[in-house]
Amino acid sequence: MPIGFVWQTFLETPLINLMVGLSALAFGSYGLAILIFTVISRAVTFPLTLRTLHSMRALQDAQPRIQEIQKKYSDPKRRSEETMKLYRELGVNPLGCLGPQLIQLPVFIALYQVIRITLGTTPESVLSLSGRLYDWDIVQGAIPLSTSFLILDLRENGPLWLVAMVFVAMWLQQRISSGRTRATAAPNPQQAQMNQMMQWMMPAIFSWFVFIVPAGLGLYWAGSTVIGIVLQWIFVGPGDFTWGSLVPDRARASLGMKPAAPQRPRRPREPAGGEQTETEESRPEAGVETRTDHGHSRGQRKDGRRGRRPSARSARSQSRSGRRRRR
């Protein structure tokens, strides 16, 4: 079966009808239909999103141990094996760091095609739509679709304010995602530079796409990113991110504010019974190298699930020994 046929029959055409149907239900507003669809798509992909978020967090927590491995083993093959072993031990997938945005990519792709088809302005594009609609009154009667939403023309390229909104939202999402990594791992300068680049490049790339694709797609991406931030905040937490950290130190100084506190690492805590199982955040003094162990707060496992992993103890013991060496 040709892939084009499968794509059209099982994804594109149903999505066209869904969007047209949602538009009819949303009082003829295609923009509102896009936002409703955004919520639906995020809800459908939520389990996957959650898994990715937890995986991402676990990876962030494992950064110091990865650093240790990299220092300890000079042979790349051995280093790779040891790191994979660590991943297995922690139960995380290294590709989880691709981020929640990637989950949305297939939807983004399909929606791009659907918007292109449904919001075509030429007579040919509307005529061709007739062959894609199901014989349902709700979709047949919804044509023509309204192409304006608030001050947006959904067919035109994304306006600058939408581009800016997407950039800020994605930057914030990246910042929240990567904050703990940057703080805890004390990565080498090259790594830090790369992290910093990712922080800016991903928002920049997607903002550029929002600028050159129809605004309807930008609306979806903006809504999806905002929902992603909310989900991340609720289910994974902000990590070491604080709103105050967004204010640059120079601006703080000029405003007479205290310097931004370094990212708060997690410090081990000896629970009752002597077994080290939990950690909590602590604030080191400014200028002191930030370190952390790799624990999770309040009974959360390193793979993001609740409860205690069977291998947790051995993982922690490695962690402790690593810290002692650095000290």
Binding site: M194, M202, F206
Partner: protein, 376 residues
């Protein structure tokens, strides 16, 4: 095995590659307009859109081949029509041409050059799909911005705006001008009747669906095909009140054909209906099983000829709907046909002219010679 060295550019590359693959040619976000202007016979030449946004004047050679006499625009004209949907209007030795770009121009039929009195093409705000109406002095040009402008035919000056339905109300269907009243329908589900002398709105009738199709007026009955799969008959003399509506199996996007007390109308699902003009009852229907029919039906010598988008042509008995013959044209058909004596000419989207003989369904492509060449 994963390479665990940090490679932040890998996910970045994945994202970029996926986006580029997904969006393909970003510049071509929406489909380009192609235009479906009907061929027109004007004296010795046929006016056809052979290429997107270009009008060719073709004349027959002794052997029956076609050769170009002129085309418009040429490179010196510095105008881009984008595409031509509106059928060129021929009045005497002047051609009024409206392009999708919003440009309206008056050309000499003999030379294809713009009339000096008009000068440069008149640029209207919006795209032009509907064929303008003409009352001998003024052209009434509708755009997809819901506006109908009256242009002075001698100078091209915009003399008046007779309808300004601000907002998203594209007008795609050809308006009809009869007795000083302009009937025009928009995609936003309204039919308007406007007195062109005064610019007064005589009436406005909301319908259940948008009207992309050209209107047809038969005496006082205004026929409008709609996107809600209905064909509406309105009483033009009584405020546009609905006389009846007929529900088909798809959109009515074609110019309705009124003949012998019947209205013939095809749908986007490839079905041809014969409807009683007085009552709106179905007389017969023919489901071609093919693709959508956008092009108007042609009734020639007692044969109803219908062509679908994919080039499947069928000859029907207009009384019963019985199939008389079937043929195939090599190409897509969206333009209305030109009935030329005992034959029907179809223009394919590729710019080829095809002759169909209604009596037996024979199909012949009209050969075309390179410009300047003659037979032999």
């Amino acid at each position: 095995m994963f390479h665990v060295k940090h490679r932040p550019f890998t996910p970045l590359a994945v994202v970029i590659a996926a986006l580029v693959l997904a969006t393909g040619c970003i510049g071509d976000t929406f489909s380009q307009p192609s235009g479906w202007a009907s061929p027109v016979e004007a004296g010795e030449v046929l006016l056809v859109q052979s290429e997107r946004g270009r009008l060719d004047a073709l004349e027959f050679t002794a052997s029956g081949a076609l050769v170009e006499r002129w085309h418009y625009p040429v490179s010196d004209d510095q105008v881009e029509l984008d595409a031509i949907y509106a059928t060129p209007l021929v009045e005497g030795d002047v051609i009024y041409l409206a392009g999708y770009s919003g440009d309206v121009v008056a050309l000499s039929l003999a030379t294809g050059r713009p009339l000096p009195a008009w000068g440069a093409p008149v640029r209207l705000d919006g795209h032009i799909v509907a064929t303008p109406a003409f009352d001998g002095e003024r052209l009434y040009v509708a755009t997809d911005r819901g506006r109908v402008s009256a242009l002075d035919a001698s100078s091209g000056r915009v003399a008046d705006v007779v309808l300004d339905a601000a907002g998203d109300h594209p007008i795609w269907g050809d308006p009809v001008l009869v007795g000083g009243t302009l009937y025009v329908a928009d995609i936003d589900r309204t039919v308007h009747a406007i007195g062109v002398a005064s610019g007064d709105a005589r009436w406005a009738q909301p319908l259940g669906g948008g009207v992309p199709a050209p209107l047809a007026l038969d005496r006082e009955v205004l026929i409008a095909g709609s996107l809600d799969s209905r064909l509406y008959a309105l009483d033009a003399g009584a405020g546009g009140s609905e006389l009846w509506s007929f529900e088909g199996d798809g959109w009515f996007w074609s110019r309705p054909l009124v003949a012998g007390g019947s209205i013939y109308a095809p749908t986007s699902r490839g079905t041809v209906y014969a409807i009683d003009r007085a009552s709106g009852a179905e007389r017969w229907s023919f489901a071609s099983g093919g693709s959508q029919i956008r092009t108007a039906l042609a009734l020639v010598d007692g044969v109803l000829v219908a062509a679908d988008k994919d080039g499947a042509v069928v000859g029907l008995n207009p009384s019963s709907g019985a199939v008389l013959w079937r043929s195939t044209i090599d190409g897509d058909i969206l333009a209305d046909p030109l009935v030329r004596g005992p034959e029907v000419l179809y223009l394919t989207t590729g710019g080829d002219l095809v002759r169909v003989h209604p009596q037996d369904g024979r199909v012949e492509e009209l050969p075309r010679l390179a410009p300047g060449r003659q037979d032999g």
